[in-house]
């Protein structure tokens, strides 16, 4: 039941490299070879210079918390089991921002600008979800 209720990503041809990398424990993002911009989420073109010369590149998986909240109500039945849980906007050292839960961490230590590193949560046999934890 819980598995059914958890929204699980369904990769497309375009986003498959992101999820393939995640399955190997790597946070990969698009980088434009024409203008040098990183971008997230993935597109077939660069939103900065309109070039289609965008390639997948491994990130350091390191960043800081731009902002966050602790959810005291669950967005779906699956997340109810995890209450309370942290949702954050991560600013990667490379520049792009993404959303993640802050896991394996003391909720009271979560703060804006705190350093975080990527980790991965197995959702099912195909999907490993990028998450973040506080850097000790």
């Amino acid at each position: 039941m819980a598995d059914i209720l958890r929204p699980t990503p369904r990769p497309t041809d375009l986003t498959a490299p992101y999820w393939h990398a995640a399955n190997e424990g790597i946070l990969s993002m698009q980088h434009c070879r024409h203008c040098g911009q990183w971008q997230f989420f993935p597109r077939a073109f660069c939103t900065h210079c309109t070039s289609d010369d965008v390639i997948w590149q491994k990130t350091t998986g390191l960043g800081k918390i731009y902002t966050f909240t602790i959810n005291r109500k669950a967005a779906n039945a699956y997340m109810k089991e995890r209450l309370p849980y942290a949702v954050a906007i991560i600013q990667l050292d490379e520049g792009p921002r993404m959303m993640a839960n802050i896991v394996n961490s003391d909720l009271s230590k979560i703060a804006i600008d705190a350093r975080v590193q990527v980790c991965f949560e197995r959702m099912d046999e195909d999907i490993s979800l990028p998450q973040f934890e506080l850097v000790a």
Partner: protein, 386 residues
């Protein structure tokens, strides 16, 4: 919009449908009820209407509403950009009227979300798991929209030292206004302590930092300035209106979450109207969450960035306060049927017509309405005057 269109259209009729908890009626029925009442307010009849703006309840809402009302308009618009949609529709109606595409526009909204229980889970996972939202947002269980605004509040507290009491001031002011409005849904006495001790939903926001969940509908009748002179009610003219758009539900590229293009939108509306902030008597700001009001006050330029907490202190926003706003009681205490834009306009028009009884502001010649859509995804500012 260009300055020559300032005062080219007027809001000639406004009305709410039944409000609060309305079991046994559909959102479409509420829209029709409000539409008929707004037409009567204007002294117009259904055959006068030649444009319909409606954005909820159906993917083809404007057609649905037109069919239900038994009219065959020559212009429709079902654009949905969240809570501000009905204000945006006024701008679109202004452009369409100027282009000769219509002359009497009906703007409607209705929702039965309280009776349906449709917001109770706090998240609506309507996207396919392949969309950007489906892949990169929904797996993380973010409450939406409250989780996003909680993140804004967190940022505001971190950067400026804003406190839970500052936010509670906004909720309390709304309740004090609601006590002066017989149509408001929540009118019982409250206090800062009660608000600050309500349950946390998404830190730092508590249940009392959040708008109500109610049923209800509203409608506006927009006509050309020429036509406005013959109406039953005192026309309220659109002096300025502007809008801007940034993202959907995946705001990864939105730079500073405390600088969301509102200043630029507001300035465009002021420029079109040819007025300044100090000229405004009536302020209606979308209060989905207390932090949204604080942020809007700062971004609109009514106070300096970071000084919102001091600006709203000591009952400033409430009856008799230094800067009275949201005189209906707002989304926080009057009612919030999902998208509040139309209700901001209804209250502004009633203030400008001096129809607000106990909550009437002493001077009400120029009003400002401001609203965002989705999760600070877009925003609109409109200036109205008699």
């Amino acid at each position: 919009m260009k300055q020559t269109l300032s005062r080219s259209v007027a809001i000639g009729g406004v009305a709410e449908s039944d409000l609060g908890k309305v079991p046994g009626k559909t959102a479409l029925e509420l829209q029709a009820q409000a539409a008929i009442a707004a037409l009567r307010d204007a002294g117009l009849q259904l055959p006068d209407v030649d444009a319909v703006f409606a954005h909820t309840d159906d993917r083809f809402s404007s057609l649905q509403v037109a069919e239900y009302l038994g009219i065959t308009p020559r212009y429709v618009d079902s654009s949905n950009v969240g809570g501000m949609s009905n204000i945006m529709h006024i701008g679109h109606a202004m452009a369409a009227i100027a282009a000769g595409m219509c002359s009497v526009a009906l703007v409607t909204y209705g929702s039965t979300q309280l009776s349906d229980g449709s917001r109770k889970s706090g998240a609506v996972a309507q996207d396919s798991p392949s969309t950007p939202r489906g892949q990169f947002i929904l797996p993380y269980g973010q409450l939406s929209p409250i989780g996003y605004y909680a993140m804004v509040a967190q940022l505001h507290q971190h950067r400026y030292g804003t406190t839970p009491k500052d936010l509670a001031e906004i909720a309390l002011a709304a309740r004090l206004w609601a006590q002066l409005n017989p149509k408001a849904y929540r009118r019982e006495p409250s206090s800062l302590d009660e608000i600050m001790s309500s349950p946390l939903v998404a830190d730092p926001l508590r249940t009392r930092d959040c708008c109500l969940v109610t049923d209800g509908g509203g409608a506006l009748v927009i006509v050309s300035a020429d036509r406005a002179k013959d109406l039953r009610s005192k026309p309220v003219y659109v002096h300025g209106i502007a809008e801007s758009f940034a993202h959907h539900y995946t705001p990864f590229n939105t730079g500073d979450w405390l600088d969301t293009q509102v200043a630029q939108t507001a300035q465009a509306a002021f420029d079109m109207a040819g007025v300044a902030r100090d000229d405004i008597d009536v302020v209606q700001i979308y209060d989905h969450f207390t932090i949204g009001v604080l942020q809007s006050l700062e971004e609109l330029g009514f106070c300096r960035r970071g000084e919102g907490g001091a600006f709203v202190a000591d009952g400033a926003l409430g009856p008799g306060g230094r800067f009275p706003i949201n005189t209906s009681g707002g989304g926080l205490s009057y009612g919030h049927p999902g998208m509040f834009g139309v209700f901001l306009v209804i209250e502004a028009v009633r203030q400008l017509r001096q129809e607000c009884g106990q909550r009437q502001l002493p001077k009400a010649e120029l009003a400002l309405c401001h609203a965002p859509g989705l999760v600070f995804s877009c925003n609109t500012t409109m200036i109205l005057g008699v």
